[in-house]
Symmetry: C2
Subunit: 524 residues, 2 copies
Amino acid sequence: NTKKVTKLGLEVPKVSENLGEWYSQVLVKGEMIEYYDVSGCYVLRPWAYRIWELIQEWFDARIKRNPLNVRNCYFPMFVSQSALEREKEHIADFAPEVAWVTKSGETDLAEPIAIRPTSETGMYPAFSKWIQSYRDLPLKLNQWNSVVRWEFKHPQPFLRTREFLWQEGHNAYATREEAERDVLITLEKEKFAGGEFTTTCEAYVASSGRAIQGATSHYLGTNFAHMFDVHFEHPDTHEKTFVHQISFGMTTRTIGVMVMVHGDDRGLVLPPRIASIQVIIVPCGVGASTANEVKENLTKTCLDVCNRLKGNSLIDNNDENENSVAQHHKSSTIIRADTDLRDNYSPGWKFNHWELKGVPLRLEIGPKDLDRNQMVAVRRDNGEKLTISLEGCSKDDDGNDKMVVRITELLNQIQQDMYAKAEKELEENVVICRKWSECAAHLAAKRLLLIPFCGRPNCEDNIKRDTTLDDGTAEVGASTMGAKSLCVPFEQPKGDEQLKSNDQCIHPECGLTAGSFTLFGRSY
Amino acid sequence: NTKKVTKLGLEVPKVSENLGEWYSQVLVKGEMIEYYDVSGCYVLRPWAYRIWELIQEWFDARIKRNPLNVRNCYFPMFVSQSALEREKEHIADFAPEVAWVTKSGETDLAEPIAIRPTSETGMYPAFSKWIQSYRDLPLKLNQWNSVVRWEFKHPQPFLRTREFLWQEGHNAYATREEAERDVLITLEKEKFAGGEFTTTCEAYVASSGRAIQGATSHYLGTNFAHMFDVHFEHPDTHEKTFVHQISFGMTTRTIGVMVMVHGDDRGLVLPPRIASIQVIIVPCGVGASTANEVKENLTKTCLDVCNRLKGNSLIDNNDENENSVAQHHKSSTIIRADTDLRDNYSPGWKFNHWELKGVPLRLEIGPKDLDRNQMVAVRRDNGEKLTISLEGCSKDDDGNDKMVVRITELLNQIQQDMYAKAEKELEENVVICRKWSECAAHLAAKRLLLIPFCGRPNCEDNIKRDTTLDDGTAEVGASTMGAKSLCVPFEQPKGDEQLKSNDQCIHPECGLTAGSFTLFGRSY
Ligand SMILES: [Zn+2]
Ligand SMILES: [Zn+2]
């Protein structure tokens, strides 16, 4: 089995010099993705796609209910040339990356048709049609779909791909106030959705010292409304009034960030809330001399524990009920558990396998554990081992299976600890820096910088240029790239560190007053 | 308000002469779709997309669990030219309809890239990689995605579109027996999924007398396995063994069929199980002279009934609980109910509006109803009116709200009645026909034919040709088109009607023995 273990495991540790190779191996060997014969496109295998489904379920339920009340819809993946080019400024960002369909079979199309790089230009002509009165507002629509941006930069699974999955929310309001309120609610939501890996929408990858955008929520003002003529008659003034719009989006990129943030030398480390399998149960300590009866008892116990965790005894699978027009939910706790009872692999091989795949908790049960009516739980995040009583199926005061309650608590603890660890890493690596001369050293130490900044694009370009290292190679790599602005944090430094009205922008050639502390860093 | 009603309602009844116009109006005025500026593409508005979500939820849960155990994944929308053309025979069907991306921005791609018309050619190279041992089998993967077939025939929303949403299941097995078993299980599932409108995968639209494919489940044999080299080492013989494959698919076309089958002169009629709103509550009988107190009481009662139906009092919205790693379900009955409390529309206008949109049940509550502690329920499918007691919030023996139980039963009854009506329509219009001379008359009467048939494609072509009516116009329309074979029903005619071994194929020029009764009809 040694051979298998070697082949199975990662060949490189998670250190910055070979982070790219580590990332690629952990995704392929962890069965998250498969490479594909169209460059920049990857197959999302069930292990990764299930994560996306769990994120979707969570996010979708929250945007659909109060106070957001967003509804889902589907717009075509195709956008006509005239619609796409209607908003020149908007499309300028995407133009070089738009994929164009020009042929069907052997036949040239009369005019090329774009694949959506994002759906503003496809959706807002319909908004213009649907919105006539203030009573048609707010209009809040979301889509779960894929978009295409034919980038030519070096692709990386999840992080930079030519097609990616996302949701795009597009809301229109009668007033700016309502629009701004929802921008913040959505952002808040997205903080949580992406909350596995960061407290802001900009995620931080400690191993590389680079930041990456997780989710966004924009207030668009009335720009698009003017361009696509989305207006209503004001109920009081009867004047033509343009709507205020917001958009928000979260992509499969968040999965890549999660892998980067939490993974380790042994493979993936999945937060329990998004793990396809949260608990894997492995029978141990069986040898050639083990009695059949013991083996059978072990198998039975593993399956029994699994069923208890999955809440199977509590789930009502009555088909007549399920086919009813009304949805019935029975009270139950459901943990995503599975057993690995394969007899052609050793327990050691299985441990490596499920560690590589990042399952948050492993339960080991051997003949001796059976005697003591217990099992051993091993945490993936920190390797900690705990003994857990099987306790028959004894119930606590609320009638819950005590073992299931214990495992649920443990999974919640793992979730919290992983979050806290990532948060600490972020806090330790965001530094307030007021001296231009110190910026380079902080970047080299893989930190993000909070610097006094004027806010001008030109000045940002200068900062980026002057923090780029020239190591003699032509290419700008991860460890040589300059810093760009990531965001202006809601929470600005306070007390002694607070920005004063005469504080200047950090760049020596700038000389303007700094508007705020802005987060700068190397970025994906 | 008269004007609004006229504009709101359908301008044509649902009769075969203008079925196309009726269909288009019911979809646009019912807010199911919006037309789009790329031909053959349509916007699925929330009212339609929610139907798809409900179908997805139902279907997805069933294919994921025992005995199918399918897992979801995502393959890129793009397929390389070489992969697409690897399976010549397969792709021949799609070749003229494949959309090709040839440019990104202004740059020509090195080679054109196809948008998937279906994913066999994208997926099976990965199957070849993933399947090495019999232990890797069965492999059961499903995708929810959209596919593109650039047809040039007259497009119709849902029924014939250039992009459509579907699921495509692709399973590989070690043996033919396992594969065949799952073909039947899946078909069975799909029968139910499409069960709103038909008992077979071929749906029948009585108004047009035409059939349309709802869902399919194929046994593919080892054809694709040979083409894409998907094989494993047989555990006993150690020989290279090709896998047996199946595929199954269900598309948004089912929504169009549902509209065609159940809709009526007043608009959509949605089966409760897939209706975005199952119950709409409308306050009535309020005039200028109505006391404010009565109005307020009415509003309060409407909202209270709505909340009781939605099971809000029972749902645990504790956020800490929701953010737990384990999923908790509280026992509850959830009916998708809403109120229409808008004060700028009359009750009559609202009745028309929600009837047009096909809401299965309307609850009317007026001041007199309040006095009697009751409301009036109006069924959308047959117009029947019933008086329902509000009963405070009194519980039955199982502790359920009696009013909610009553409404649930009513919705289940509507579901069953709609199904039974469609089933009856189908049964009445499928006729066993043994005489060639009688076929044309049956088709003209909008029936489907069960005819003795040899099974040869050439003979099918002859049957189609010789049942096509020449009405002097160049174009073959709905009422003149010939019959094609739809399926060989599992249940063949029995008793006196049973096929005998020497029965001949129905076509006069054929002369061969009939293999089975085959269903023929005009088709979409
Ligand atoms: Zn500056
Ligand atoms: Zn024949």
